[in-house]
Amino acid sequence: MHTLSISQLADGLRARKFSARELTQHYLDRIAAHDPALNSYVTVTAEQALQQAAAADAALAAGNAGALSGIPLAQKDIFCTAGVRTACGSKMLDNFIAPYNATIVDKLQAEAPQGAGMVMLGKTNMDEFAMGSSNETSFYGPVKNPWDLQRVPGGSSGGSVAAVAAGLAPVATATDTGGSIRLPASLTILTGFKPTYGRVSRYGMIAFASSLDQAGVVARSAADAAYVLQAMSGFDPRDSTSVDRPVDDYGAALDAPIKGLKIGLPKEYFAEGLDAGARSCIEAAIKQLVALGASVHEVSLPSSPLSVPTYYVVAPAEASSNLARFDGVRYGHRAEGAKTLEELYKRSRGEGFGAEVQRRIMIGTYVLSHGYYDAYYLKAQKVRRLIYEDFKRAFESVDLVLGPTATGTAFKLGAKTDDPVAMYLNDIYTIAANLAGIPAMSLPCGFVDGLPVGMQLMGNFFDEARMLNVAHQYQQATDFHKQSPQGFK
């Protein structure tokens, strides 16, 4: 059952080939068997999952189920889930249970027709407060890449990708602030989609960098991603930055031919730094797309070399502010025996936050401080505008922009933990989309030395349907996305 696509699962449930309870139990059994090797889940909600599955079975029997009713999923532990701990990879929130659901949790899990009726298997491991590119900053320990247990799965949505790649969930939610969906998807053969900023509600998603954070999905195909993304998307009056605009029918768009599609290849994305093996996989994929009727055109995104430094001003600045609420006063970790208020703050935060989070809080505090704001934060905002304008110009002549997702394949655990800058450069190709607010996705396009390679598609604002269509057409002609790691088949 764990090799079936979302639409096959939906058909199977409707045809009574298996019940939602059986399907859920199958995944729970796989998690019990395989997750000790991966550490992809921080919480497994078996009892609740079986209850949700029973409700889905009842809805299926009564004929009022939704398209996704009874299909299991894993939730990244950054989304608040009422009654189930939401720790966000941090000791700070190790004891935190939200009294409310994130909007996307309601949308995906409430029973049809209010929600999609999906079944939550559990909460997935992640870099602490989503700060990391390798899932090594989690308080709950690193996640292993199912393709090679010595290697990282990428981050920050490392638990979500490992779980889906290993068949421990058919699909998972994820979030992307600088590449946290796309980079780990590329390192684990998955299709990961970060929608347009404002397409998916941020309410109840623990904030890292508010102007960059966007929820999305990691799945085994573009089609699977399309169905779940459809259910997550839409305007939310509780999120002022969500956009009040109808959601396109992503599923219906999948089968359109892509003849005449104009693909832009940014020359800056194919310059130095890209692994030769990865480059040849991507070049082969471009040929495949041309064979499907697309044309390719060189474009330039001249400000893209500034993406990483710009991001590492904007994101820590917002993070330093967003994480100020974790003070040990109302919830979360509180240091014991503090004698003064200042000591309470310093020790609660010093003990509750890990090294990478503390580093980013310090960077962010510095760039916002008096006398430095103009030189750093304001300057970064101006560069951000230039990056946005690069894309705007590119989309005047092409429909999509294509490039690598990562500089190479998954690296070894611990290989970059002592070198923050080397770690930050993992996101060199993914960050620009967050800064511009445009939708971007990663999809698999080959292997180098047995490790998955992904390519990235970036689209114009709200062009999700076309991107999923192109990815789906590519996946109809290729089978990289159908591969699964040895030991997790």
Binding site: T86, Y100, G204, D327, L368
Partner: protein, 486 residues
């Protein structure tokens, strides 16, 4: 310390005020929680007010409307686009670790308010800006030993912070400005004006300089002075203190000070060096607020008549003195009450003004009540004044009826009837009373007739006494003169 050392000296004070004014919205500025004062601690704080992880603010449109209403009433600019910013500092009653405020782009800027000085002149005080922000919660240090309680009911209450230009030159000017501002925001229905509950709070920036000096002196900021009297005392204290420090060869430190009502003094709280670096930046959770010209004009069209315009209208339409007009327009409710009395009674507006501003206000002041809970309604007072107009009772008897009405004995007609106070207009009855008085007072009659005109009052008094005050005074005067002249 002599509070008037500023007078007769070469020193001049420079004062600017920051007023925090809670807006009378139904819910908080960024959440749906209620903002009723005095609720049990932490019963009016939702997940957003508690700053739980993942929650987001959504702007209350009514707060924007009230800020714009205020801005238009002080002839200020309304920003076509304004931006919320985060102001960071750590304190237990500030749940997010930052306050959502406005920094570079406030919603209201460059307005002014005219105040009347003691010598009758008018002075214009500039209003630099008024920005929207959220209030913090409260830290409760009483009732806890070795601990501090946090009440987040107030967290997220909408405020406008109104910042004046440093145009104020004395404590009395500061009070005049504050009173005018207070009257205005209450008039507009923007703020309930309750200073005890903290709905209207003032911080005073004070510096001194030699008269004619080109630059301002170093200023201090005295925080949270929450009554007009305290503002006056705190500023006077601060002016005197600063002059003494400088004249004693010292220098003023830029610092935040706290006013202690029990001593009437201010004391240093923190210096500029200890001040927080607030690390303001635009709040990425909130979009810029766009106020279109149509939106602004719609609010302008719905503005109530402002106190100044109402005062001028009362002078013109009702023939009131500037003093009476000012008294009667001191609050919107009082002005409405007065206008209802004029309309319902058909009496001379000046007579109505006397009754409302003298008799009624005396009763209210004595009982500490507000016009809104007056024991006598406008219609009831009008009913009394109608009986004066139609000469059923005299003005003097009306005072007696009024007292009975205050005591809750019913409406004017019932009281007049029950107490038999209907005025005697039957001239034969009055003539009889006059003749009785004259018969009993032959000496006074002789005195009056020999030229002691002052004795006339004696006779009026005696006649009124004999008729229990019910005789028509005009008739008494006329008939007395006839009889005394013989």
């Amino acid at each position: 310390m002599a509070n008037d050392s500023i007078h007769n000296s070469e020193w001049e004070a420079v004062i600017g005020l920051e007023v925090h004014c809670q807006l009378m919205t139904h819910s908080k500025i960024f959440s749906g929680a209620a903002i009723q004062y005095g609720a049990e601690p932490n019963t009016q704080a939702c997940a957003i007010d508690l700053a739980l992880p993942g929650v987001l603010p959504v702007l209350n449109e009514d707060a924007v409307k009230k800020a714009v209403t205020f801005g238009l009433s002080v002839d200020a600019h309304i920003a076509a686009r304004c931006v919320f910013a985060r102001k960071h500092y750590f304190y237990p009653d500030l749940p997010k670790g930052y306050q959502i405020s406005q920094y570079e782009l406030p919603i209201v800027y460059l307005g002014h308010l005219d105040i009347e000085l003691e010598d009758g002149r008018t002075k214009t005080i500039g209003i630099t800006r008024a920005h929207l922000e959220e209030d913090a919660g409260k830290s409760l240090h009483e009732n806890f030993s070795n601990a501090t309680g946090i009440d987040l009911n107030r967290a997220g209450t909408p405020l406008i912070e109104i910042v004046s230009e440093p145009d104020i030159r004395s404590a009395s000017e500061a009070v005049a400005y504050l009173k005018k501002l207070h009257q205005l925001v209450v008039y507009l229905g923007v703020c309930d004006g309750n200073m005890q509950e903290g709905s209207f709070r003032c911080d005073a920036n004070v510096s001194v300089r030699k008269v004619g000096a080109p630059k301002f002196g170093t200023r201090t900021e005295t925080k949270n002075v929450n009554s007009f009297r305290y503002v006056e005392k705190a500023i006077e204290y601060e002016i005197t203190r600063q002059i003494e420090v400088i004249e004693g060869g010292g220098a003023i430190r830029q610092e935040t000070r706290l006013f202690d009502p029990s001593t009437g003094e201010t004391r240093a709280m923190r210096s500029k060096e200890d001040a927080n670096d607030y690390r303001y930046f635009p709040d990425p959770d909130l979009l810029p607020v766009i106020c279109t010209q149509d939106y602004i004009e719609a609010i302008r069209a719905s503005l109530p008549e402002l106190p100044e315009a109402k005062k001028l209208r009362f002078e013109k339409d009702f023939g009131l003195s500037p003093y009476d007009a000012k008294t009667l327009t001191s609050s919107r409710e009082l002005a409405t009450y007065y206008e209802a009395v004029v309309k319902d009674s058909g009496a001379d507006p000046k007579l109505c003004a006397n009754w409302v501003s003298t008799d009624l206000l005396a009763v209210l002041n004595k009982s500490g009540k507000d016009i809104s809970d007056s024991p006598i309604s406008a219609a009831a007072l009008a009913g009394l004044l109608q009986r004066i107009v139609d000469k059923t009772i005299s003005g003097k008897i009306a005072k007696e009826v009024f007292e009975a009405m205050v005591a809750g004995e019913g409406n004017a007609d019932d009281i007049i009837k029950a107490k038999g106070l209907v005025q005697i207009t039957d001239e034969s009855a009055i003539v009889k009373a006059i003749e009785d008085v004259m018969a009993k007072s032959p000496e006074q009659v002789a005195g009056y007739r020999s030229g002691k005109d002052k004795l006339f009052g004696f006779f009026v008094g005696q006649v009124m006494k004999a008729t229990q005050g019910k005789a028509n005074p005009d008739a008494v005067n006329r008939l007395l003169k006839e009889k005394l002249l013989g």
